[in-house]
C-alpha cells in the first residue's frame, strides 16, 4: 500500500492497528477450504495476500475507513471471526477490515427478549450472558466461537436449536450497516432494535436474503438478535469427564430429556419429524446420519479412540443393522408438568412412528450420547472436531420438507458417497453422513451431506473436488433448491471460481445472480466491497 494512504488509515485506527507486514498478511491468506480455490498450483494459501489488514474499534472508524477506500478506489473485505475461505478477499489489492476489536454486547433486553451486539461477539459469549436472564440463542453449526453478527447478516443462518428458535435469517432484528459508499444505513426504527423492518419497505431481503451477501454489500457493525426461552439455570457448571466434547454438566437441569430413537426406514424417520413438529415438543431436533457417522464425529476424544472403540472393536459392524436411522430429540421444559407432558408425547410418537429406543442407547456404550453429554455438546457447540480427519466439507445444503430432502438429496447422495468411499480417499464414516436440522417445529428441514477428507493429502483433496462436482451436477440436473452460496460452492474444479459456479446455478434458479448483480450495482456503484462470493463474483466483473 502506498505510504501516503497507509498513513491516512493509520491516523484513523492508530499505528498498532494496521499492518502490511507480510508476516501479518500471510495469516489472512490461509483458511478453511483455501486449498480448493482456483490457482495455478496446489496450495493452502490464496494466490494473493491482502493489501493490508486494519482493525477498527467503532462504527465511526469503519465509516472513515470505507470513505478513504472510496476516495482512493481501494477494495475492501470485512471479516469478524473469519472462519472459511469466503471470509477472505478473492482478488488482488484488497484491504482486509478485521472487526475483532468491535466486540461488545451493546444491550441485552430481558423483557423484550433481544440483544444488540457488535461483530466480534461470539455465540458462546452471548449465550453465557443470555442464560443469566433466562434467555438463549441459536448458535450456528460452525461453532460457538463464531460471530453472531456474521451469521445473522452475512452468511447462512442454520443452527442447532432451530427447531425451537428458528433460522437466523428470521432472528435478525435491527441492523447498523456501513454501505460500500460509506453512508450508514439503519434497518428498523431509529435508535431501536426490536425489529429490522420499517419505517417503509423492509430491506432485510436485500441485506441478507437467504444466504447473506458474504461481505459483498458493505459492512455490518451492529445487529439486534431475537432471543428465546432458556428453561435451565443461569450458569451450567462443567467438569472434564465428558465423551462427546470432553466436558459434562454437573448441575444438569431437572426438566430435560434427550432421546435417540432409531427408525428402520427414511420414511418412518420423516414421519417422526413431522409428528414431533406438529406436537411442538422438541427444543432441539436434529439428525447426524448413520451410526458410523455419529460416532466418528462425536464418539471419542481422540482419533485412536474413535477407531479402536467403535470400529476395530466390531461395534459398528454389529450395530449397523440394528441402528439404521437414528436422530436426536431433546425435550426441555420450564415446569415439571410441562416436562411430563412433553416427554410422554415424545415417547408416544416415537412408538407411533415405529421408532425404537434401543437398549444400547440406554445402558450400553452409547448411553453417554444422551442427557448432559448431548446438552453440553449442543450448548458448547464446539464443532471444530468435525475436522478430525484433517478437513471437512459439505457438498450442497438443501432446505425443504422432510420427505423432499430425503428423496432428492439423502438417498441419491448415499450412492455417490459409497462410490467415493470405495475409491479410498474420503473418510469411511458411512454412506449416510447427512446432517438434518429441523426449523420452527419442522416447518422445514435443512440437510447437508458431509465429507471428511485430509487437507494434507493432495489425493484426498482432489477426490473431494470430484465428489462435490459430481454431486452438484446431479442436483442441478434435478433443479433442486440447494443453497446458492453454500460452502460447497467454494469447492470444485480448480479452474472455476466461486462466481462462475454461482452463475451456473443461477441460470437454473430464476437467474438470481443477475438480481444480485443489480443490487450490487445500486449499493456499490464503485464496486469496492469485495464481491468474490456474491452475485456473479469476480468472474462476472471479468466477463463484463
Amino acid at each position: 500500500m502506498e505510504r501516503e494512504i497507509y498513513r491516512i488509515f493509520e491516523e484513523i485506527v492508530g499505528p498498532e492497528n494496521i499492518s502490511d507486514d507480510p508476516v501479518i498478511l500471510e495469516t489472512y491468506s490461509f483458511n478453511w477450504l483455501t486449498e480448493f480455490l482456483p490457482r495455478s498450483a496446489p496450495s493452502k494459501f490464496m494466490e494473493h495476500r491482502p493489501l493490508a489488514v486494519i482493525l477498527p474499534k467503532s462504527t465511526e472508524e469503519v465509516q472513515k475507513i470505507v470513505k478513504v477506500c472510496n476516495s482512493y478506489r481501494i477494495k475492501f473485505k470485512a471479516l469478524s471471526t473469519g472462519y472459511g475461505s469466503h471470509s477472505l478477499p478473492g482478488q488482488e489489492n484488497v484491504l482486509v477490515i478485521d472487526l475483532r476489536r468491535m466486540n461488545r454486547i451493546i444491550e441485552l433486553d430481558e423483557k423484550n427478549k433481544f440483544a444488540v451486539v457488535e461483530p466480534y461477539v461470539v455465540w458462546a459469549q452471548l449465550q453465557a450472558e443470555a442464560m443469566k436472564v433466562g434467555l438463549f440463542t441459536t448458535p450456528i453449526q460452525a461453532g460457538s466461537q463464531a460471530s453472531v453478527l456474521a451469521n445473522l447478516t452475512s452468511g447462512w443462518g442454520m443452527n442447532t436449536f432451530g427447531n425451537h428458535g428458528g433460522h437466523n435469517g428470521r432472528n435478525v432484528l435491527g441492523v447498523e450497516w456501513v454501505l460500500p459508499t460509506g453512508e450508514i444505513l439503519k434497518l428498523g426504527p431509529p435508535n431501536e432494535w426490536f425489529t429490522g423492518d420499517g419505517p417503509g419497505p423492509s430491506l432485510r431481503g436485500i441485506m441478507r436474503g437467504h444466504c447473506g451477501a458474504q461481505g459483498g454489500l458493505g459492512i455490518f457493525t451492529k445487529v439486534g438478535i431475537k432471543l428465546h426461552n432458556w428453561p435451565g439455570p443461569p450458569v451450567l457448571e462443567t467438569e472434564p469427564t465428558g465423551l462427546i466434547s470432553a466436558y459434562s454438566i454437573k448441575n444438569l437441569p431437572k426438566f430435560i430429556e434427550v432421546a435417540i430413537p432409531t427408525f428402520d426406514t427414511y420414511e418412518t424417520l420423516a414421519n417422526f419429524f413431522y409428528r414431533a413438529g406438529e406436537e411442538e415438543i422438541a427444543y432441539c431436533l436434529i439428525r447426524a446420519g448413520s451410526i458410523e457417522h455419529l460416532v466418528t464425529f462425536a464418539g471419542a476424544l481422540s482419533n485412536k479412540e474413535i477407531f479402536e472403540q467403535w470400529f476395530e472393536s466390531g461395534f459398528i459392524s454389529s450395530a449397523k443393522e440394528l441402528i439404521k436411522h437414528p436422530c436426536v430429540a431433546m425435550v426441555f421444559a420450564n415446569t415439571e408438568r410441562e416436562f411430563n407432558f412433553k416427554k410422554k408425547v415424545l415417547y408416544e410418537i416415537i412408538e407411533e412412528c415405529n421408532g425404537k429406543i434401543l437398549p444400547v442407547f440406554k445402558e450400553g456404550p452409547l448411553q453417554k450420547f444422551g442427557g448432559e453429554e448431548m446438552l453440553v455438546g449442543l450448548i458448547g457447540n464446539d464443532t471444530h472436531f468435525i475436522h478430525h480427519a484433517g478437513g471437512f466439507v459439505i457438498s450442497a445444503g438443501y432446505m425443504g420438507t422432510a420427505d423432499a430432502v430425503i428423496k432428492h438429496m439423502g438417498i441419491p447422495q448415499e450412492k455417490l458417497k459409497k462410490k467415493f468411499i470405495e475409491r479410498g480417499k474420503i473418510l469411511a464414516d458411512g454412506e449416510d453422513s447427512t446432517y438434518h436440522n429441523s426449523f420452527e417445529n419442522n416447518a422445514y428441514i435443512y440437510m447437508e451431506m458431509e465429507f471428511h477428507y485430509d487437507a494434507a493429502d493432495p489425493l484426498s483433496v482432489q477426490e473431494v473436488r470430484e465428489v462435490v462436482r459430481e454431486e452438484r451436477e446431479n442436483l442441478m440436473e434435478e433443479k433442486l433448491g440447494f443453497e446458492p452460496n453454500d460452502i460447497g460452492l467454494c469447492v470444485g474444479d480448480s479452474n472455476m471460481d466461486t462466481g462462475e459456479r454461482i452463475i451456473e446455478i443461477g441460470k437454473r434458479y430464476g437467474n438470481f445472480h443477475i438480481w444480485q448483480e443489480k443490487v450490487k450495482s445500486a449499493f456499490d456503484p464503485l464496486d469496492l466491497s469485495d464481491r468474490s462470493n456474491y452475485g456473479g463474483g469476480i468472474y462476472m466483473k471479468k466477463r463484463n
Binding site: S19, D21, V23, I24, E26, F30, N31, W32, S43, K44, F45, V53, T81, G82, Y83, G84, D98, R100, V121, V122, A124, Q125, A128, E129, G143, S144, Q145, A246, Y247, T296, L301, S302, N303, K304, I306, F307, F311, V376, I379, G380, D382, T383, H384, F385, H387, H388, A389, G390, G391, F392, I421, G424, L427, A428, D429, H452, D454, A455, A456, D457
Partner: protein, 424 residues
C-alpha cells in the same frame, strides 16, 4: 525432532478460532472472560493466535516468508501457556504446542534466537548455573539457619529443590524457607543440594535452546539418580512442569518421583501430620499456574508419525494429553483446610486457567506483554470478590506483584505462606 515433522498438522488447521477462547465445551461463563489466549487479546492480528502461528510455520516451511523482526516478535510474544493446544485438542489430534515450540527451536538452530531479552538468561545459565546472574556459591544461602540434611553428604528420601527464583530472589526466598521448615519440623526425611543445585533449565527449553536444556537436564537426572532419592520435591511450578513433563523426553530413566510442594503438603494435612489451626478470615481465589496444571503431564510428541485408518483418519499412537490431570485439587484442598478462608473460583480455572503472562521468556523479552496479561488475570481475580490471589509459582507471583504495584487492592500471597501462618 523438526518443525517439518508437523507440516501435516499445519495444513489441517481450519482457522476456526477455537484456539482464541477457553474450551467451548467447558461452557464459557461470561462475555468478559471468554478468551483464553493472552497473545491475541493484546495484539489482535490473527498471526498472534495459536492457529496464526501454525499458518506462519507452514508459510515458513514453504519458503513464502523468511526470518524478519516481525516474525520473531510474533513467535516470542507468547508465553507458551498451552491454552491453544488444550482447546484445539478437544476436537482434533493436532499438536499445536509442539509446533509453537519447534518453531522456537528452529529459530535457535538458524541463529535467529536468542532475542536480546533472552540472552542474559542463557549467559547466566552458562556462567552461573542459574537464571539470575547470581554466584553459584550463594545458591544455598536461602536455607541458612534451618537444620536440614545435606543431600550431598547423606542419603535422603526427599530432595527439596528450591529452584533459581526461590533460591535467589530476595522477596521470594521466604517461600522456600517456610516450605522447608514445615517439612523438617514434621520429620520428613528431606535434604537439599545447597550450592550444588543447578537450574532445571526450563527457561532455556521454553525459548528453544535445546542444547542447553539437554546439558542441564541430563546432568540433573544423573545426579538425582545417583543420590538414590525417592522424591524430587519443588515449590516452583516451572521446575515441576519441566521435571514432570519434559525431562521424560530425554528417555533417560528417572528413578524418582516428581512432586510439587502443594501435593506433599496436602498429603501431610490429609494424613493428620499437620493441621491448620489459626483462623485466617479472608476471601481468596487461586491461580492455577500453567506448568502445575495443563502443562504438567508427561507429553511425548508424535514427531509427525501417524497411520491412516478409515481412508483418511490420521491416528497418532501417542497418549493424548489434554491437561485434565494437572495438580488442581491439592492446592484447593489446602486452602479449604485453613479455618476462616473463604475460597472462590475464577471463571477461567484448572486446565483452562488464564496464564499470568510471565512464562517461556515472555517477561524477559516482552515485559509489556507480561504485565498486561497479569493485569487481565488480576481483574478476573477481583471480579470474584476475593481480597487475595493465591499462587503456587514464583514466576506467577513475581509477575502479579509487579503488575499489582499501581492498584494493589488485591493481595498476592503464596499458598505456602498462608498455610505456614495457619499452622504456626
Amino acid at each position: 525432532m523438526a518443525l517439518e515433522d508437523y507440516k501435516k498438522d499445519m495444513m489441517r488447521c481450519v482457522r476456526c478460532s477455537v484456539c482464541k477462547f477457553i474450551p467451548l465445551s467447558s461452557l464459557i461463563k461470561s462475555w468478559r472472560f471468554a478468551y483464553g489466549c493472552p497473545s491475541i487479546i493484546q495484539k489482535n492480528f490473527h498471526a498472534y493466535s495459536g492457529g496464526g502461528k501454525l499458518i506462519l510455520a507452514l508459510s515458513f516451511l514453504e519458503g513464502r516468508i523468511g526470518y524478519s523482526p516481525k516474525l520473531l516478535e510474533v513467535i516470542y510474544n507468547c508465553s507458551l501457556c498451552g491454552m491453544c493446544d488444550l482447546t484445539c485438542k478437544i476436537g482434533t489430534d493436532m499438536e499445536v504446542w509442539e509446533i509453537l515450540h519447534e518453531f522456537r527451536i528452529r529459530c535457535f538452530k538458524d541463529g535467529q534466537a536468542p532475542l536480546p531479552g533472552h540472552k542474559p538468561i542463557l549467559d547466566s545459565l552458562k556462567n552461573y548455573d542459574n537464571v539470575w546472574m547470581q554466584p553459584r556459591g550463594r545458591r544455598g544461602e536461602w536455607a541458612r539457619g534451618i537444620n536440614v540434611r545435606d543431600a550431598r553428604k547423606e542419603r535422603v528420601s526427599v530432595l527439596y529443590f528450591a529452584g533459581c527464583t526461590y533460591s535467589y530472589e530476595p522477596g521470594l526466598k521466604e517461600i522456600a524457607r517456610k516450605t522447608l521448615k514445615i517439612l523438617v519440623e514434621n520429620d520428613v526425611d528431606v535434604g537439599i543440594l545447597g550450592n550444588e543445585e543447578k537450574c532445571c533449565s526450563s527457561p532455556a527449553y521454553m525459548i528453544g535452546d535445546e542444547e542447553t536444556f539437554k546439558k542441564f537436564a541430563e546432568e540433573n537426572i544423573e545426579k538425582f539418580n545417583e543420590m538414590g532419592i525417592e522424591i524430587l520435591l519443588t515449590s516452583c511450578a516451572g521446575c515441576y512442569g519441566l521435571f514432570k513433563s519434559k525431562y521424560p523426553r530425554l528417555e533417560k530413566k528417572m528413578n524418582f518421583r516428581v512432586m510439587h510442594s502443594v501435593e506433599f503438603l496436602w498429603s501431610l494435612i490429609r494424613d493428620g501430620k499437620i493441621k491448620p489451626r489459626k483462623r485466617i478470615d479472608m476471601a481468596v481465589t487461586y491461580n492455577d499456574p500453567c506448568h502445575l496444571g495443563r502443562l504438567s503431564e508427561p507429553r511425548i510428541p508424535s514427531h509427525g508419525k501417524e497411520r491412516i485408518e478409515l481412508n483418511t483418519l490420521p491416528i497418532k499412537d501417542i497418549p493424548k494429553i489434554h491437561g485434565f490431570n494437572g495438580i488442581y485439587e491439592e492446592p484447593r484442598e489446602i486452602l479449604k483446610s485453613i479455618p476462616g478462608i473463604k475460597f472462590v473460583e475464577m471463571e477461567r480455572r484448572m486446565e483452562y486457567s488464564f496464564c499470568c503472562g510471565s512464562g517461556a521468556g515472555a517477561r524477559s523479552a516482552f515485559p509489556d506483554f507480561a504485565q498486561k496479561t497479569a493485569l487481565e488475570r488480576l481483574e478476573e481475580a477481583s471480579y470474584t470478590g476475593a481480597s487475595a490471589l493465591i499462587t503456587a509459582c514464583p514466576w506467577c507471583e513475581k509477575n502479579f506483584m509487579d503488575a499489582n504495584k499501581n492498584n494493589g487492592a488485591l493481595k498476592i500471597i503464596n499458598i505456602v505462606e498462608l498455610l505456614y501462618d495457619s499452622i504456626k
